[in-house]
């Protein structure tokens, strides 16, 4: 017993020094903003492993199940086959999903991944009527967003763009069929509900949480998974937690001290650097690999808007640029960070009750933006976290401030770790735990050229214009649905709009005999 203990203590003391050096190196690199490229190498290696895993799954499937193109083919649809040649053929999805037993094994942290994310894993092909909350927008908007690849959303409404008068026809019994079909299609697959759950992956990324069917595939794969599991939980997790802890301690102490410095140029300079260092440390604690595009458009003031996936977005953006933040006051871990930040620089944290008072928040926004010395304010106009496959309606509040808007698009690569925070399922701590036990967080950040509100353009139209620009850049689906549908029901006005649209097309017999 004593022998074991002495062995352990010796090995610990041998390891402690290199470990400390390792930590210090990470912190140092974070402070100066440089990187050794270790994380990128790690990601490249992971990609190779995933590729190997995918092939393995394919082979294992072929051995066990009959091929997907059996005689039961309902519709020969070659659309699926054309997509994603480089990300693995649709055969993989087919095989991957073709387990007839062991569906949905329940594990504690299993994400309900049975939903259909993007078009290439669709169940049905929707060609006709798709109902949207504001049909008018489809006629006025210049572009129905079209980008190549899976993320197209061509939103059809009633027959496209002809003058109403020629379309009007009398009511027939078959008129209800359009609505019925649109309704049943929506039941099978709709545009909105799956945006609030994690994105479905095309092929397994060796995390249990994304394995739809917890089933044995092959010994090799299980071995790789085991190794990955041990590495993530026994090595990466403790290191990440430690780094995160250091980062939190730093931010609290540094902001406290900087808050004591009198206002002025010195304070701002100190704050900027402390801020950058904090978020670089926090980014490393998540093994974040951030690729920034178009740094020349990085704002130094004004209003910056981005699509929202999780609070981690702030970390992703703050490694390069200092921002002021605006958001709801939280308790817990986030609250600590919020209060720490607020000590040294102007941030806008409001209470839930104050959210309803848009005027007060707008006033503070305007005050902030009017002072050119203030850092740019980062706003997430969606108002809630969306799963990074689409951009939902932007609230017009931030677009009424009358300032220049600097749009930013953020897109995460879900293969290495899904960054979406499903706040109804996980608390912040659980979410961070999930993040720190993923492989890595890989994201692309695009800074877009500033956008100005045009003459006679309403705030809503301006918001939509910015939204489509962000969606196009990030390869996301541009939806006009409100992100609050996560929690609230559809508004009755939207149904009324549909009724209005339908009645516009009805030819009414005006000859009445009284």
């Amino acid at each position: 017993m004593a022998l074991i203990w002495s062995v352990v203590s010796v090995s610990c003391s041998i390891l402690v020094m290199p470990f400390l050096m390792f930590l210090l190196a990470i912190i140092f690199l974070a402070s100066i903003g440089k990187s050794l490229g270790v994380r990128r190498l790690y990601v490249k290696m992971l990609l190779k492993i995933f590729e190997y895993g995918r092939e393995n799954i394919e082979i294992a499937k072929k051995d066990r199940h009959t091929s997907c193109d059996n005689s039961e083919n309902e519709d020969e649809d070659d659309v699926e086959g054309q997509r994603d040649k480089e990300k693995g053929s649709s055969n993989v999805t087919c095989h991957y999903l073709n387990h007839s037993n062991h569906m949905l094994h329940k594990m504690d942290r299993k994400l309900k991944n049975g939903v259909l994310a993007n078009n290439s894993t669709s169940v049905i092909s929707r060609e006709d009527l798709i109902l949207v909350p504001d049909p008018e927008q489809n006629y006025t908007s210049a572009s129905t967003v079209n980008s190549e690849g899976d993320h197209t959303a061509v939103i059809h409404n009633f027959p496209r763009r002809r003058s109403f008068e020629t379309l009007k026809r009398e009511f027939e019994l078959s008129d209800c069929l359009n609505f019925v079909k649109a309704g049943v299609e929506a039941i099978i697959e709709d545009q909105v509900t799956h945006r609030f759950e994690a994105e479905e992956l095309k092929s397994w990324n060796l995390l249990t949480r994304t394995n739809l069917h917890y089933e044995f595939i092959s010994w090799r794969l299980s071995f790789i998974w085991m190794v990955g599991f041990l590495m993530r939980y026994c090595f990466l997790l403790p290191v990440r937690v430690l780094i995160c802890f250091i980062g939190t301690v730093w931010i609290v102490m540094a902001m406290l001290l900087i808050g004591l410095v009198p206002d002025g140029h010195m304070k701002r300079w100190l704050h900027k650097h402390a801020y950058l260092i904090t978020f670089r440390i926090l980014a490393r604690s998540l093994s974040a690999i951030i690729t920034v595009h178009n740094k020349q458009y990085m704002p130094s003031g004004g209003v910056c808007v981005a699509n929202h996936t999780s609070p981690i977005d702030i970390v992703m953006l703050s490694t390069e640029n200092c921002f002021s933040l605006i958001g709801q006051r939280h308790g817990g871990f986030l609250g600590i960070l919020q209060r720490a930040l607020a000590r040294a620089s102007p941030h806008i944290w409001f209470e839930r009750s104050e959210v309803k008072d848009r005027e007060a928040v707008a006033k503070r926004l305007r005050q902030h933006v009017s002072d050119p010395r203030n850092p740019p304010i980062l706003i997430f106009p969606e108002g809630t976290c969306i799963n990074n496959t689409s951009v939902m309606q932007f609230k017009k509040g931030s677009f009424e401030v009358g300032s220049v808007i600097y749009p930013v698009a953020i897109k995460y690569d879900p293969k290495f770790g899904d960054a979406f925070w499903n706040s109804s399922r996980y608390s912040m701590m659980q979410y961070l735990y999930l993040m720190m036990t993923s492989w890595a967080i890989v994201c692309d950040v695009w800074y877009l050229p500033p956008m100005y509100q045009q003459e006679g353009e309403s705030a809503i139209d301006f918001a939509n214009r910015v939204k489509s620009a962000i969606a196009r850049q990030g390869g996301l689906v541009d939806l006009m649905w409100d992100g609050q549908l996560k929690r609230m029901k559809a508004k009755p006005e939207w149904k009324e709009k549909q009724q209005e649209e339908f009645s516009k097309r009805l030819k009414i017999d005006t000859k009445k005999q009284e």
Partner: protein, 189 residues
């Protein structure tokens, strides 16, 4: 995460559903995923609220009628997966040379007929037609105009003069409509 009922879909169940509805096992699994994701309470059945939580269905003027079609069989207000699939099966495209139990032209027409027939007496009365028209146009057309539309529609379709539309008359009225296309959903494999 709470108590979850067993949500495994066994082979026998898949085979049974395939037999009754004609969906392929792959499609059945995808639709099962959809079913479970709509089932917020994890109880293995869906209620009307679960359906109406889908925004596109909630804003559909006929949304309530469509949801009602799922709850027609039996008297409980929950739908299990088999019933769910049976209703969806009506919308499978018609395949020549295959046994179309639930998705024949007549079955599709029957489904459409049930949308109008509110009290299930196999006849569409003028009031029922008016009710559906109300659902579809809301407050945008006046009562008299709607009544005249309803009367005209019944006049055109009614063949035996009882001021109501029976199922046969309904089928005849829709003879020239491409029901197969309008009531079929293209499933990808």
């Amino acid at each position: 995460m709470g108590n979850r009922s067993s949500l495994l879909l066994r082979e026998e169940e898949i085979a049974q559903i395939q037999e009754e509805t004609g969906f392929t096992p792959n499609q059945i699994e995808r639709l099962y995923s959809r079913f479970t994701s709509l089932d917020r309470g994890d109880c293995g059945t869906l209620s009307r609220e679960d359906f109406l939580r889908i925004p596109e269905l909630a804003i559909n003027p006929l949304g309530d009628r469509i949801v009602h079609a799922f709850f027609e069989e039996g008297c409980s207000d929950r739908v299990n997966f088999l019933q769910f699939m049976q209703v969806l099966a009506h919308f499978r495209p018609i395949k020549k040379g295959r046994d179309n139990k639930l998705n024949s032209r007549e079955q599709k027409l029957k489904f459409a007929f049930k949308m109008y027939d509110l009290d299930n007496d196999d006849k569409i009365s003028k009031d029922e037609l008016l009710a559906i028209l109300h659902m579809m146009v809301g407050a945008n057309i006046s009562e008299e105009q709607l009544t005249s539309i309803a009367e005209r529609t019944i006049l055109e379709a009614d063949q035996n003069g009882d001021q109501m539309i029976s199922f046969e008359e309904f089928c005849n009225a829709l003879e020239r409509t491409d029901v197969e296309q309008k009531m079929s959903i293209r499933f990808l494999n």
